[in-house]
Symmetry: D2
Subunit: 344 residues, 4 copies
Amino acid sequence: MPPPGAVGHQRRRAGRHGPARHPHPHPVARRGARVISPTRPYAGVVPPVLTPLTADGEVDVPSLERLVAHLLDAGCHGLFPLGSSGETVYLTDAQRDLALEVVVKTTAGAVPVIAGCIEPTTARVLGRTRAAEFLGADAVVVTAPFYTLVGPHEVERHFRAVAERTALDVLAYDIPACVHTKLPVELQLRLAVDGVLAGVKDSSGDDVAFRQLLVAVAEQGLEYAALTGHEVVVDGMLLAGADGSVPGLGNVDPAGYVRLHAAAAAGDWTTARAEQDRLVQLFRVVDAADPRTTHGSTRGVGGFKTALALLGVIETNTVSLPMRSLDAEETARVRAVLESTGLL
Amino acid sequence: MPPPGAVGHQRRRAGRHGPARHPHPHPVARRGARVISPTRPYAGVVPPVLTPLTADGEVDVPSLERLVAHLLDAGCHGLFPLGSSGETVYLTDAQRDLALEVVVKTTAGAVPVIAGCIEPTTARVLGRTRAAEFLGADAVVVTAPFYTLVGPHEVERHFRAVAERTALDVLAYDIPACVHTKLPVELQLRLAVDGVLAGVKDSSGDDVAFRQLLVAVAEQGLEYAALTGHEVVVDGMLLAGADGSVPGLGNVDPAGYVRLHAAAAAGDWTTARAEQDRLVQLFRVVDAADPRTTHGSTRGVGGFKTALALLGVIETNTVSLPMRSLDAEETARVRAVLESTGLL
Amino acid sequence: MPPPGAVGHQRRRAGRHGPARHPHPHPVARRGARVISPTRPYAGVVPPVLTPLTADGEVDVPSLERLVAHLLDAGCHGLFPLGSSGETVYLTDAQRDLALEVVVKTTAGAVPVIAGCIEPTTARVLGRTRAAEFLGADAVVVTAPFYTLVGPHEVERHFRAVAERTALDVLAYDIPACVHTKLPVELQLRLAVDGVLAGVKDSSGDDVAFRQLLVAVAEQGLEYAALTGHEVVVDGMLLAGADGSVPGLGNVDPAGYVRLHAAAAAGDWTTARAEQDRLVQLFRVVDAADPRTTHGSTRGVGGFKTALALLGVIETNTVSLPMRSLDAEETARVRAVLESTGLL
Amino acid sequence: MPPPGAVGHQRRRAGRHGPARHPHPHPVARRGARVISPTRPYAGVVPPVLTPLTADGEVDVPSLERLVAHLLDAGCHGLFPLGSSGETVYLTDAQRDLALEVVVKTTAGAVPVIAGCIEPTTARVLGRTRAAEFLGADAVVVTAPFYTLVGPHEVERHFRAVAERTALDVLAYDIPACVHTKLPVELQLRLAVDGVLAGVKDSSGDDVAFRQLLVAVAEQGLEYAALTGHEVVVDGMLLAGADGSVPGLGNVDPAGYVRLHAAAAAGDWTTARAEQDRLVQLFRVVDAADPRTTHGSTRGVGGFKTALALLGVIETNTVSLPMRSLDAEETARVRAVLESTGLL
């Protein structure tokens, strides 16, 4: 029997695109029977690709090409451009299009590209899903509506309306810290059963609900890719049955996350945990910016970009307004973290 | 006598479009000495203009023209298109441009048009401020960043960066229910002193902070337009010294809000309160939609649009996805409210 | 002339202590017909009485007696001991009993004493209502459950269970900042109709809901005392139809609040507003404590106590652990506020 | 072999109390070198003991004795009476004392008893720590202040003040859902270094912070017991280095949690995960109560008690007001869950 995921991916693409770009059947066993599925279409290490910027705030194409190569060379299993870490809500549509085009071209079909389509409401999301289709993404990632005040019915209607109007697979992006709505387990299951959602990037911070989701998905034999967005708990989430991770920190150390995933897939949880512990230490690059004058995204994206600039992958650590770039002293703190964790 | 708002409006436009932004000393009496300021540029009743839609979700231009006429005929002192009630986060940029163009043209300079420029981050807001400049708005209204995680420094940098890059006056839109950041009184005062902000539309629901703002503005003799966005407490906010109101419900009954404002300006608080009490009852149009299947914006914008359709001002009660339009039973409840409050 | 509140107070007490709780039709005019009701049992200025402490943290009885005299001499219409400002959740039951006993004895029936009975759950609240009955309070004030996770049914069951088991009138204390549940307007109306609640101390900060409550109470002709707990917006709330206020700041300047209430009752809103504006300035005593090392209650209760110590009403500015008392520099800032607002 | 927890338990008391009940030095290896620590004083499975009630709401002593025996017979490594699941904020002090006395006596020193001392503020917590000392508890569990508004300085002062005034070890209870303050990693580390806190029961739902805590504790070689309070993610938390769990569901199936812990301690993560997955299914007893008329604690504690009544461990499924007991239909749903997971 063909494995879940492979077939669906093939079928899904076949059903939607005609000739499939990923021709090999996936040798994955039934979900209930396995720990993690490294060959799922949406599985493994799928970093949310940062968007390198030039000093004057434009998309830095050569840096982005190097970053994609950095991720693919390390063995990442997918790429997620235009997510929160990709500063998507900071970019104009033209900048988003350019960034996505660069990622798709540089990836050249090696792994799936799932494109963030992050806008407050249905019609605006559809503007982005059309761009994603046109530019060759393999799937789209969509949040619950934000800014506007919605309840459960509006959220469900939103995902259904988006999925009806795009040929691409839709993954939910569960990120209540940004959109202030948590996607309930029951809703995700219902939308999975109905073929509306192909999976979720879970950045909810609600590991209880995520575990309940994983158990229910396995029980019901659903094809639903469950990826954790929390880079410091990937080992535990894989143990719990997650299909993979979407680690912002994976931009900085993709090889570490690939090793972590491989160890977990092999059932070597001691190695997985040790790798994760090191990555928890590396994650301290997000603490480098002075907390008295920076917050949230400035610290996270700013720390990641500074690390990548120090590693020589991207040119500058520029971030979009109203964030600010890390200064020399803060950069020195990032360097110290990279050194202590063996990256420099 | 020129309408409230008109005088300041003229002055402000002159200042804005000529070489010097504020060439003359302000002829406005010291704030502490008055109850409300009828000659401010941003004062009086400034409804957040709804965006009527055709059945297939496009901007309904004739309906919008009728709505603007409905508001101006009632004596409103300004118009605020592309706010939350205007479904701005549901509209594409082209739809926003069209709606703003229609409002500006129909208004024809009679009152100031302050245009919502509501996007998550600085660069994207600037895309909208440029459109507002091009299309002839008199000022722009800007929220704190949303979706992305920010702290006080990012918020302040955001407003400063926007104001530096637009020739139009910038009013802050304090709406933590949507952006999940409250604009502190101290920040507003600092940005007022520095000429970054010309005023605020306060939809914070924090009447304590709003009063503290009003007292501090008066003490310091600042020119800072303080408009309340809460349509059911306008009388109390005017008593406290607010310059005016931005009532979503003012789309439905602009004459009521103009009467309320006039009574307050004349010191006739008994009349002001009675008018407000009637408007509180009228506000129940937002309770018409079934709470088991609707939420937030669907109930608010949906109720207002249904009322306006019943009043014959706009053609349909269509709202944008993922909201849904009110059904027949819900529409009957709206009709009952309009009848009991004397509008039908 | 008897003070506002006294008449209703007498009636209510008679009804409560005799066989029939409410034996006569109420001689109160229809709510819709009046601005504020001077003859309600729970109306006018009802300060939440602070609990002065000795340097070693015990209830300072002579200071509490002086504080009560300070409030009664100024003409307050009721007293609310053991509220949040009274540090009730910091006190042992023995300390609470002592504080309540002192307030009741010192008041000697001059005005109603409504006693806070603030505990997380029903049985524990009932322990406090029994103490309030025994010690001679006129009514009790009860919040929604806290700490434990509850929904609307548990909240309603809580108030019903408490009211069934006490002979005293029950006022709801709507304080979501502390209990993290807002009491909906519909719930309050239902409990008012059913005789469960006699009124509310509204510290919700939700002036929109409070106005909707006031309009609905007037429409339905309910007897439901609506008191605002926000000391900087009392004028607007009285204009909207509130029966009175429960101002923490009223400990410091009770005469100011009595003048404000009297002006409002007389329809002199200009005077009411001017008095309120001065009190907004006085409220800055809560900003005296260094925000880098203090928060919330420390700043509020600590500021009030420091002001009262400077005014000579209470002996020390001691607050309960884990709060800390204001230091000399902070006390100097409180003194400056008292001087600039004419109290020193 | 003595149960995990017992040895350390002895040492800890010796160090602080003089006459040592448990005289052996502690053979614990450096934390960094192990996966989980079976010999820590506060480690392993430490259920938050429910408080069985009679039909009229009093502590049901025979049922509580049977419940303790049920937990000890299954091999639990410690007991945590008077926690949230123990309805501590619903009980009077007399009821709390009785419940704690029964647990201590029935346990008879077999495992450590850590007693919840859950009150809003310092002095009231100290009332409970004195009771815990008197009644023979081995340690106390204390939350951040609640109801009152506090900031970081008040929270730190609170824990320091409590620890200074009790001879028992103090564990922090990090439960922002109830107290609305998250205990930051830095604060916990500082208080661990200073000997203020001996550990934490983490019910924060913030697995990211919990992992960061675990890594920092290991790096710094601190002795700080880190117990997860989330019963559906215990396997992942143990993989991450947690010392144990405090599972409410452990009342219902303590043997399952003991097996899970033993498998994890042996490095058999496949077995641990399978056991955890079954327990996730069992956790659905908390979904049995009708969500339209119950919420939060009613569903959780009510579901657990109903399960224990069905299992014959306790007499009734009575819960405290304002919760309600599960009805027959809901009880049937609990029974179905018990049957499908092999407990009935």
